[in-house]
Amino acid sequence: MTDSMTDGILADTARRLLADRVTPDVLRLADEGHWPAELWAAVEEMGLPLALVPEEAGGFGLGMVEALGLVRIAGSFAAPLPLADSMLAAWLLAGAGLEVPAGPLTAAPPKAAGSDAPSLTRDGDGWRLSGTARRVPWGRDAAAVVLVAEQNGRSHLVRLDAGEWRVAEAGRNIAGEPRDDLRFDLALPAGRVAPAPTGLDADSLHAMGATLRSLAMAGAVERVLDLTVQYAGERVQFGRPLGKFQAVQQNLAVLAGQAAAAGAAADGAAEAFAELAAGGARPLPTGPLPIAAAKMRCGEAAGIACSIAHQMHGAIGFTHEHVLHHLTRRLWSWRDEYGNDASWARQLGQAAAAAGADGLWPLVTAA
């Protein structure tokens, strides 16, 4: 984890707040489908959802990489909130000059399975929007959803407010986080739609979402490592702590390697996100390679880390009582959101094929 990402005052404050507030009860209630209103209020009061927006739009004026560190911290606590999604949505709105409303925000993943690009047309001075956004994180709880739509070959950002969509299918990921299909067909006033800033389209939004999930996975894998090391030090079998057995030590070393790889991968993605956000990214649709590498690598790390952590925790870690599953179920969910390992690996593979054998190494060093 980078110093700049997680050592700031804001990071410390956020960590303290989440350590204090993301209690087993909060996790359990969220898991049962209750919106964690108090937790959200505390997070919003701190201004965390605005961490990515410029100071004049209500942000902290943090560097983007540092602000993205919050996603990693939230991931490490399995915070049952759309913090990452709100940060992204607020940044999208502010960047397009659209008003950023209060409350939890979210962005519609442009490439969720089964999605079709929404239809956006001019309608007098305003707009007409129709379509379905699939697997929208926390759609049912959001005050507003941001989505990207094409009009005349140009990407636009659209803000929909609560009440302007119908939840066509109330879905959940396996961690119990809402992932809703939202249907909409309505006229929108001019102030709800704006041309997307240069370089921002469905592909780059997909890559940004992948960055957020990568960061969250990196944080969660690190926490899984912490919990597992701690448990191995406490649990005594055959007269000694599990962590004294070489077979266990070797497994935990593998887990630590996955945490290191996920962390470095996510750091690289955060830097690429900042580059993408500044409009200076390398050409899509291949997308910035560090993001593709991160989503793929964190997804792979997630699977290995969960497997080892559960093996080490034994039956207790498999119970609903134990905190471990709040992390592992998120990891198993997040690795398949905003493109799974294979879809990002395919992009990397196609980039390698396009570069050719003699261009392979230059491709890697440029990433």
């Binding site: 390697g257 290191a260 962390g263 593709a292 050719g356 190494w361």
Partner: protein, 382 residues
């Protein structure tokens, strides 16, 4: 806080200019080097190539100028090294001295040792080998039996070193041995000595690897007399000297680029339009490579700041060896080819070479089990 920090690798435009220069050099130098020979990676030995590297100032890059060095940054050195390895340049004639032996002499050697030897390493004229492993001392380095006994005017050395890479081409060895106590003293009583391999009483015999290639040797010391000033640093400080080198030895690009020639030939064999399955498999490897490189450069940045990231280096080497060993297993599933060292098809030859070298990747420079033990210690488990 994360248990094991990997700070962002330092970025620099200067290193990218250097990278372009190195690539130009290699394009000409290696124009006629076929992939099967590039697959030798850091086992490729070519004295003339090393001299041309030296003339370019690409050996001893970080050392003081008065010892033939060039006083450049560790990250510039990193760029040169990774470009060499990725291209499969034959670096064996200078590489061990550049990475390990030279820096050791720089830190712990006598002024005489530095002044006479370091400039010859820097020019590519001088090759070193590392005398650590023995028949009964592999991972358990403290079990060394080779002994140097102080005698009138120097040291009397007896013992046997094994798996000594390129001893048959080297002028010098850094000998890790016992100067005091016995194996029951473990790491205590060990020292390192500078050995001129032309000294009488030293016998070097080849040990062929499983592919039939000759990199390894057995080096036998029979009543070898070394001068008193052969001692490097303080008597009894051998273990500490070796341990302080480990982070340098375990985190570099050589720990994940050993199969790069095969990955390159795999991309060539699959062509511009690989199947979806092949694109996913190759892309996954590319993603791993991007992440490993970031981890490794992060450690390079820590080393450059004078930190001692032994734990991080162990993680890089463990992950890197897995990656290097996975490449032949994946490549053979994607391209129909029988491995054959002498095949006219480069892919078959490179595959054969890589398959047969892969077992060493998780042995040399610290076995997987030792590395994971170090990581477990870093986690507070032992």
């Amino acid at each position: 806080m994360p248990r094991i920090a990997f700070p962002p690798p330092p970025a620099s435009d200067a290193t990218e200019a250097l990278r372009a220069e190195v690539r130009d050099f290699l394009r000409t130098e290696l124009a006629d080097r076929p992939p099967r020979r590039r697959a030798d990676s850091w086992n490729g030995f070519d004295r003339d190539f090393s001299r041309r590297m030296g003339a370019r100032g690409w050996i001893a890059m970080t050392w003081p100028k008065r010892y033939g060095g060039h006083e450049r940054g560790a990250l510039e050195r990193y760029v040169v090294l990774e470009e060499m390895l990725a291209a499969g340049a034959p670096v064996a004639a200078h590489w061990i001295a550049d990475r390990q032996s030279g820096p050791l002499l720089l830190r712990n050697g006598t002024e005489e040792q530095r002044a006479t030897i370091l400039p010859r390493i820097a020019s590519g004229d001088c090759t070193f080998c590392i005398g650590m492993s023995e028949p009964d001392s592999g991972s358990d380095l403290a079990a060394v039996r080779t002994r140097a006994v102080p005698v009138e005017g120097g040291w009397l050395v007896n013992g046997t070193k094994l798996w000594t890479t390129y001893a048959h081409e080297a002028q010098y060895m850094i000998l890790f041995c016992r100067t005091d106590g016995g194996t029951e003293d473990r790491q205590g009583g060990t020292s390192q000595l500078l050995v001129d391999l032309s000294t009488p009483g030293i016998t070097i015999r080849p040990v062929l690897d499983l592919s039939g290639a000759h990199h390894f040797n057995e080096v036998v010391f029979e009543d070898v007399v070394l001068p008193a000033d052969a001692l490097i640093g303080r008597r009894g400080d051998g273990w500490n000297q070796v341990m302080s080198e480990l982070a340098f030895e375990r985190s570099g690009p050589e720990r994940f680029l050993s199969s790069m020639a095969l990955l390159t030939e795999l991309v060539r064999a699959l062509g511009p339009e690989p199947s979806g399955h092949a694109a996913i498999a190759v892309g996954r490897l590319v993603g791993h490579l991007i992440v490993l490189r970031r981890l490794s450069r992060s450690v390079a940045g820590m080393l450059d700041k004078g930190e001692n990231p032994t734990l991080q280096a162990s993680l890089v080497k463990d992950l890197g060896a897995l990656f290097e060993q996975e490449i032949p297993e994946i490549a053979r599933q994607l391209v129909e080819a029988e491995p054959d060292l002498d095949s006219t098809r480069e892919f078959s030859a490179v595959l054969a070479h890589t398959v047969m070298n892969a077992p060493a990747f998780s042995l040399r420079g610290g076995t997987r089990e030792i590395l994971r033990g170090i990581i477990a210690r870093g986690l507070g488990l032992r």
